[in-house]
């Protein structure tokens, strides 16, 4: 594994703080009805992304996930202003305003969505890896899903095929405890999701998903295995989301105390504690980072606000690669 240096800790702190504040801003503008549709936020799960990115070779490795997907592309290098603009439905968004919250795409940065159907992205991730293997690209695809998705058939068919063909893919379940309002205990007669890998003889295991170092270690080992031809790995990140499943979730299925317990092991706090303990940065330097994060979030909001809405014809232009596809008319 690449060494976790002072610079890494400082980057993790700034990245994770930015992701957190970016999501907080989305929650705020959602209440103002500037962002609509469903909005699924990542707050609490940031260590999974930070640790994973540390393990990846961003020049060729790929990532695909479900609909809790705003900050992953940012982590992979996408301009966060474009992500914010997508949520505003603006022409400057990552999908020109056609995808919205659940469908962020940035293939040039190795980010392949952004998928709205629970578990639907799992075979796609294996397919991305299939192509990389087919063309001998030496690249690995990290395929994420929530705990709810592990109860879909798509996971099981894909696990079997990925093992059969030894695809260079790492499957990562972000177990945040709840599939919308249904706790893991209520979705299966077992709660150790990682054990699903055992049935396919897939290397698998649980990981402390609140600690980016633990995540980086586990994902590095899995990525290495995939890259060296050893095939897939299944990792269960034990993590937690502070906010509801989406913005319309009243969260009657859990207690405030439970949420507070997890905030005690918050990944950003954990990293900040190490930075302070190891004296990687002074209070003043940390304040500078905090201010930079705040400014960038503000800049994203302003960019999204100021951007134009898409032209009506874009709705047709994006459907087919064929340029003159004869759509049926729908208005007189």
């Amino acid at each position: 594994m690449k060494k976790v240096t002072k610079e890494v800790y400082l980057k993790w702190y700034e990245d994770m703080l930015f992701w957190r504040k970016f999501e907080d801003k989305l929650a705020a503008v959602y209440i103002q009805q500037k962002v609509r549709g469903f909005l699924h936020l990542y707050n609490g799960q940031e260590a999974v992304l930070a640790g994973s990115l540390h393990a990846m070779d961003l020049s060729k490795d790929k990532m695909i996930t479900a609909y809790r997907n705003h900050v992953q592309p940012i982590g992979m290098g996408v301009d966060p202003r474009k992500v914010m603009a997508e949520l505003y439905g603006k022409a400057t968004g990552t999908s020109q305003g056609l995808g919205g919250s659940m469908h962020i795409f940035a293939p040039e940065n190795g980010f392949y969505g952004g998928h709205g159907i629970v578990g639907g992205q799992i075979p796609l991730g294996a397919g991305l890896a299939f192509a990389d293997k087919f063309f001998n690209r030496d690249a690995v695809t990290l395929t994420y899903m929530g705990d709810g998705a592990t109860r879909q058939g798509s996971l099981h068919e894909t696990f079997n095929l990925a093992m059969l063909w030894k695809l260079p893919v790492v499957f990562i379940v972000e177990n945040n405890g709840y599939a919308m309002g249904t706790s893991v205990e209520r979705t299966a007669n077992h709660t150790e999701i990682w054990k699903l890998g055992l049935g396919y003889e897939m290397p698998c295991g649980p990981v402390d998903g609140m600690n980016p170092v633990k995540v980086a270690e586990a994902v590095s080992e899995a990525v290495e295995r995939a890259r060296s031809g050893g095939g897939p790995t299944f990792l269960e990140m034990k993590t937690y989301r502070y906010r509801g499943h989406s913005m319309s979730d009243a969260q009657h299925y859990r207690t405030k105390e439970e949420v507070e317990e997890y905030k005690k092991i918050d990944p950003i706090t954990q990293v900040l504690d190490i930075i302070k303990k190891e004296k990687y940065a002074t209070d003043e330097e940390i304040a500078v980072i905090d201010q930079r994060v705040k400014d960038l979030v503000k800049e994203c909001e302003k960019f999204a606000e100021d951007s134009p809405y898409p032209e009506k014809n874009v709705m047709y232009d994006v459907v087919y690669e064929q340029e003159d596809y004869p759509f049926l008319p729908h208005k007189l």
Binding site: S95, G113, P123, L124, G127, F134, L161
Partner: protein, 325 residues
């Protein structure tokens, strides 16, 4: 010209394209070592090897999705379903992922994939194995739906489908694989979205597609003996539809019968009926008649199946009805 079977035309189209483009592979149940459940990929494993002609377990969702994922990343997959009845367990990957990926990504990711296999009834296979899905897929923006009715069209259209940069649903029939037809040795392709006038005529237009069009040929032969001249249009592509071909014919004959093997509610024939009444209302000398299957799941018993399926007698009746004879 030489004569070959429909299944050979399909295998030739795939093989020729795979020789031309290294990013193409064929994947599905029994496509490799078994040479295809209906021998439509005979010899391909020997020529292209296991890397590009790939047997799968029975996991339609899984391999349809892996096909789409690989198409997002540089491959041009041909995914074979043993029948489109089995594609139902993987249809999420076709509708939500293959069809919508380009739109959801704002035009960044196109999916050059072909999903192919037999559709519709094929003898006494009963309810689960006798469904026509052309209109299901044709309803979905992002897809193209191609349905050849003879070996020549199958080869030319399949080559175009494989070269197409958008997802194409290519529908065959178990009952057509053995059909023989003239297919030239040389290179050719047939554009997607262009209908073909299979027979010219003056009195009535019959629009159809796929294997059921043979019932229209039989009916037209019978009707010719009675002095009735039928023009038969083979859609060949259901989406996008060649409306001009239909309209031009109707403007000439002023009468339209549509023959489609599908349940009658909201099908391809319904769409044609709407388009013709809205664009050629004044040309029509009779209400349009559509002939479909019964509005029930396919029955098993031979007597019931014969009653369920449209046949040439139904076509003759329909033609006479629009001619007020």
């Amino acid at each position: 010209m030489r004569t070959i079977q429909f299944r050979e035309a399909v295998a030739e189209a795939m093989s020729e394209e795979m020789r031309r483009d290294e990013s193409i592979y064929l994947m599905g149940e029994e496509v490799a070592e078994y040479n295809g459940a209906y021998k439509a990929s005979k010899g391909m494993l020997d020529e292209f090897g296991a890397k590009r002609v790939i047997d799968t377990p029975i996991s339609e969702l899984g391999f349809a999705g892996i096909g789409v994922g690989s198409a997002m990343n540089g491959n041009r997959p041909i995914i074979e379903f043993m029948t489109f009845n089995f594609a139902l367990v993987g249809i999420d990957q076709i509708i939500n992922n293959a069809a919508k990926m380009r739109q959801m990504s704002g035009g960044q990711i196109n999916i050059p994939i072909v999903f192919r296999g037999p559709s519709a009834s094929a003898g006494q296979l009963a309810a689960t194995h006798s469904q026509a899905f052309e209109n299901w897929y044709a309803n979905c923006p992002g897809l193209k739906v191609v349905v050849p009715s003879n070996p020549y069209d199958a080869k030319g259209l399949l080559k175009s489908a494989i070269r197409d940069d958008d997802p194409v649903i290519f529908m065959e029939s178990e009952q057509m694989y053995g059909d023989k037809g003239e297919v030239p040795e040389g290179e050719y392709s047939i554009p997607i979205g262009v209908a073909d006038i299979k027979r010219e005529g003056t009195d009535v237009t019959i629009v159809s597609f796929g294997k059921i069009i043979k019932e229209a040929y039989t009916a037209a032969d019978e009707l010719e003996k009675e002095g009735i001249s039928c023009e038969i249009i083979d859609l060949r592509t259901v989406r996008p539809m060649d409306h001009d071909a239909i309209l031009n014919s109707v403007k000439k004959t002023n009468r339209l019968v549509i023959l489609e093997e599908a349940w009658p509610f909201g099908n391809v024939a319904t769409e044609i009926t709407y388009q013709v009444q809205s664009q050629a209302f004044d040309y029509l000398d009779a209400p349009i008649v559509k002939i479909n299957t019964a509005d029930t799941p396919a029955p098993y018993s031979p007597v019931l199946l014969a009653e369920w399926l449209p046949n040439h007698e139904d076509v003759i009746k329909a033609v006479k009805k629009v001619l007020y004879k």
